[in-house]
Symmetry: C2
Subunit: 325 residues, 2 copies
């Protein structure tokens, strides 16, 4: 991991902060070709890309009711309880975000804002390297609470042609209406353009890898999108009272998502940097996804020492990380 | 103008509704090159592009206080009164949209949403073919009400190297902090990437032509944007009680913006279609911008007769026009 002492290494810090969002021309071209192929060849393109990129020959794009029932039988009852508990908590949170229509008659006419749910939205749920039931809940529940009529989820199949059981159960609990076993730029293209099997949606939400993100960017305008989610980031700002064991675990929790993920510790304490390094080494060695997490820490991890917490907070604001602790 | 009887001409209607948002590869390449040039050569690129695209050699990018004072002297007092009145009304509207932070402690921890203003935003105010003081007010006032610290506006200079006086006065009244005489993709690039003179912003808002829109799309991710605004659209849904004189005037009010603007009348009355056509011809003949408005009506205008208003409303929902009357 790169170590920086700020403001001594100010120049290097500015370089890191100023680095462009993405260097992506070649990938953009690939994504554009995939989108064109899906918009022209529909389902057939989806079968072909799934065979090529996900390494599995699908019989059906759509997940059947039987598969969802099986998923419920496959997971532990403790996991089902955890998902149900999360549904309640996440729904309670998003309930507070609901907006209200309003009308005003005091300006010699009527002004106002009419808040209506979208008809049909598509959720991109990442897969491949791991299962993300939490992403299902955090994207589907706001849509359901908003009153969206049709909630469609896509997620890549594994080598057995299945979406992992925890993900399917989360979709069942969150009230997803249709599920398709596709991922990558081709799945985003199917949601935006429609195919024989998949009716196109009004908006696409949910995070993904660089192909998914660039496909969302490319199709934005034809379809609405939530945002462009970059690779995962976590930034921990810590003073001397923090536990290096917890810091290391939380840095790894994002590093294990993606070799491009960025995990950053900013602290006033040189001691904490050294202890965290040792903890990272220890915890990494027993991590099942140590190759990914190790690559991420090696290439993109940052350990930053600052003179005081105020300077640390300035850096936090400039990084504006996805996750901040 | 193309005439359609729906649902008899259903196939043609679907073609119009399904047409892709933009066919843009060549333009995207041009925009990408402009962005690259501005990010590499800064101010010099802005001077060069302004000379090339806007046909004017600027001495300064920034509008000085003297120019704003002069603009106030140049406009009629009735226009100043109208702008001041609009400021009050538009501010009263956006005041109602302000969001509040909230915090919740009933889930065994704290959850919530912290609403903070952005530090610095850039407003793109179109120019060239016309002056848009209303765009200034409708973009700057929400930013000011939200508490944005630095509001920067860009707008292309005319052949005399000036931003039109009504636009400058609107900027003065809306509380814009910095004004630059640049437009097009190069102005969007300057706001997103920064130059020697222009500090980069957190978000870019405001409509523009296809170059501006594609530049916003390209830079989205490095900078936040409000939305991708297409060419202007107006759709009027009318029953037999509507005045063809008003309909024609309102169709022209968008047609005159851009040859790519789209003006649509949907009505149950064949008579109203014929009367509107005559009115359009009459009003167009005395319009100062009749070349643009005429091209827009000719190539993109639609007169649609429907069996009943319910069918009309279905079409309205599918078009989802920018302006609906």
């Amino acid at each position: 991991m790169e170590k920086i002492f700020y403001p001594v290494d100010k120049e290097r810090m500015e370089e890191l902060l100023g680095s462009p969002w993405l260097e992506i021309e070649e990938t953009t071209r690939q994504v554009r070709d995939i989108i064109r192929e899906v918009s022209e060849s529909g389902d057939q393109a989806l079968y072909n890309y799934t065979a090529r990129f996900d390494g599995v020959k699908l019989d059906n794009l759509k997940v059947g009711d039987g598969e969802i029932k099986t998923a419920y039988q496959e997971i532990d009852s403790s996991l089902l309880r955890a998902i149900k508990k999360a549904v309640k908590k996440i729904a309670a949170y998003h309930q507070k975000q609901l907006q209200q229509s309003w009308f005003n008659y005091d300006q010699g006419g009527m002004t106002g804002q009419l808040i209506n749910p979208l008809e049909r939205v598509g959720l991109y749920i990442p897969g491949g390297r791991a299962a993300y039931p939490s992403t299902v809940l955090m994207t589907a529940l706001p849509a359901r609470l908003a009153g969206v009529k049709e909630i469609v989820a896509v997620s890549p199949a594994n080598k057995e042609g299945k979406i992992p059981a925890p993900t399917l159960v989360a979709m069942g609990e969150a009230g997803v209406d249709e599920i398709y076993k596709i991922g990558g730029a081709q799945a985003v293209a199917a949601l935006a353009c429609g195919t024989e099997t998949i009716k196109k949606v009004d908006k696409i939400a949910g995070p993904g890898n660089i192909y998914v993100t660039l496909a969302k960017k490319f199709l934005y305008g034809m379809v609405d999108i939530d945002m462009l989610a970059g690779p995962s980031e976590v930034l921990i700002l810590a003073d001397g009272t923090a536990s290096s064991r917890f810091i290391a675990a939380d840095l790894l929790s994002q590093a294990e998502h993606d070799p491009l993920a960025r995990s950053i510790l900013i602290t006033t304490e040189q001691r904490l940097i050294e202890e965290t390094e040792k903890e990272l080494e220890k915890q990494l060695s027993v991590l099942s996804r140590k190759d990914i997490a190790g690559a991420s820490l090696q290439d993109r991890g940052l350990l930053i020492r600052v003179e005081n917490l105020e300077v640390g907070m300035e850096l936090v604001n400039r990084f504006a990380p996805e996750h901040l602790e």
